[in-house]
Every structure is written in structure tokens, then in C-alpha cells.
């Protein structure tokens, strides 16, 4: 998967900020100190770009300076024939155990805000 296309991270970062601010307000927080994200490999979101945009757009909000933590979920596929789970590469999706091409994605599509740390 190409790691170099970054622009959509701006929209994604704006969504993360909106979610964090909404929940912080509901909790009566004075400050957001951390944002914990779960991002799957298939979601094509680049950590560094999100951090880059974050530093710009969180300025002037209670989330300014919050630490972004990315829990990356690696790509995982499951064979529909033998049930074996494996990490696909970007060359082939064939099951390494029984060589079946009938496989499906079982992990790696996550794209969520898991929690925030507030004061």
C-alpha cells in the first residue's frame, strides 16, 4: 500500500478533533491531553500526516498539545477454505497454508477514536 499520499488526512484529522472536543465537553474537561486512535492497515492513514495536521488545527482549542497515540492494526486475512489466518503482503492474497485464493479480510479496516485522556 502506498504510504505517500497524505492529503485526505486533513479531513480525517478534522473529524478526530471534532469527536474529541465533543466528548471532552460532555465530560466537562478543561483540557484534552491525549487522543488514542485505532487505525487499520487497510485504512491508508499515515500517522505522521495526522500529527502534522493536528499540530495546526488543534491550536487554540482545549486539545492543543494533546498527545496522539496510534494503535496500528496490521492487515490480516482469513482463508475461507481452511480457516487459517495470515498477514497478506501486497503481492498476493493466497492462503500460505492451503494455497486457496478464497480469502477474506479479517482485520485491518479499523478507523476509530478509542478514547481520550482529559483533565
Amino acid at each position: 500500500m502506498p504510504p505517500f499520499i497524505i492529503m485526505h488526512e486533513l479531513s480525517i484529522t478534522e473529524s478526530i478533533l471534532a469527536i474529541a472536543l465533543r466528548h471532552a465537553e460532555q465530560a466537562g474537561a478543561m483540557r484534552i491531553t491525549g487522543i488514542n486512535l485505532v487505525i487499520g492497515k487497510f485504512s491508508t492513514v499515515v500517522d505522521d500526516s495526522v500529527q502534522f495536521y493536528w499540530d495546526m488545527i488543534a491550536e487554540g482549542t482545549i486539545a492543543r498539545g494533546a498527545k496522539l497515540t496510534f494503535q496500528r492494526v496490521p492487515a490480516e486475512m482469513t482463508c475461507r477454505d481452511c480457516g487459517h489466518t495470515f498477514a497478506p503482503d501486497d503481492q498476493t492474497f493466497t492462503c500460505p497454508q492451503c494455497l486457496s485464493p478464497r480469502v477474506k479480510i479479517s482485520k485491518g479496516e479499523e478507523l476509530r477514536v478509542e478514547s481520550i485522556d482529559i483533565e
Partner: protein
Amino acid sequence: MPQRVSIVENIMSANDRMAQKNRAIFDNAGVLAINIMASPGAGKTTFIIRTLDALQGRLRMGVIEGDLATSIDAEKAAAAGLPAVQINTGGECHLDAVMLSDALGALPLVDLDLVIVENVGNLVCPANFQIGTHINVLVASIPEGDDKPYKYPGMYRGVQALVISKTDLLPYVPFNMGYFRQGVEALNPGVVTFPVSAKTGEGMSAWADWLVDQVMSHRSKVKG
């Protein structure tokens, strides 16, 4: 006192909610909307023009133009007698649901059967953004290579129809159709696929007929 608040919210949820609103607007008007995505140079624009040609007189169509570097601009579509809206993406790499929502008001939806949205040429960014169309379509062209499902799984995963375009080039470029289709099948089992050549016209009628069927079945569903 620091405190952790559990959230577990999909990052795309606000966009997805707006996409649902767009879809409801289409449904209320009895319109089927399709979102055409492709890499730059895949022939998206030509494919759309041939699609409009093939459906002329069968469906009442409108075009929403989101590509940064398109050649069917609003004027061209208007010259063909079709209502068209150009979205200014402001340099963004994708359309999102808010941009589409802004464009919807400019189309006479109640007088249309089908709206074709041309997304920004890009195989990465648009995949994360639902815009509210009923059918997401990927146009994958033969010269791009047979490895693209493996390189851009998110895009292949999220579409309801796959157009394999420029099939007239198959004799001239190395393209292992079995390898390509195996990648597609892993990501999107059973997705409906149309091999076409916009140049020779091969396969275009099957695609056009399928679209007409989709419009009819969608209309009977939303109109009860």
C-alpha cells in the same frame, strides 16, 4: 486529575451521517446516484461520456463533476443537454459528503433518473469517504497493471461495481486477468464486473443495460 474517557467512535461517522442524508435526498427524488472513481489517466472521463451516449434517450441524467482535471466540465455536459454541476474541491484529493450535499441543490433531481458523480482521480483518498451515492464504481484500466487490487485494497473493497476499461489494449500490455481477478475476489467477493472498451464500444451496452436495470429496481424500491 487525568482521566481516560472511552469513546470508540468511527472517525468517518460525521461524514457517513451526511452521506446518509444525501442518499435520502436522492431516494426522495427517485434518483439513482453512482460515484465513479479511478486513478488519474484511467479513462474515467471518456468512459462517462460513452455511458451518457449509451443511455441518451433511455434515462434522464445529470452529472456532478468533482475531478480536478476533468474535461467534461459543466459547459460540455450542458452542451449535451444535461444538467451538470461542478464541485470546487478546493484542491482536496477526494469528494466528501458535505461537498456533494452542496452540489445537490443545483440539480433538478425530481426530473432525473440517474446522477453520475465523477470523483477526483485517486485510488487512495476517495475510498474512505462515502458521499451518499447508491453505487460506487471503480474504473480500473488495463494499462495500470494487474497488481492494483493488491496495492490499493481499500478502493477495491468499497465498490459495488468494477469496470475493467481499455480492454482493447489487452493484446499489447502484460496483464494477467486471473491474478487481477483473484485480488478482486479476496477483497470484494462476487462484485459485478464489466470489461469494456470505451474506444471500440465493446462491453458498453452490457454496462448501460445493467445501469438501466439498477435505476428501475431502485425506483420501485423507493417509490414502494
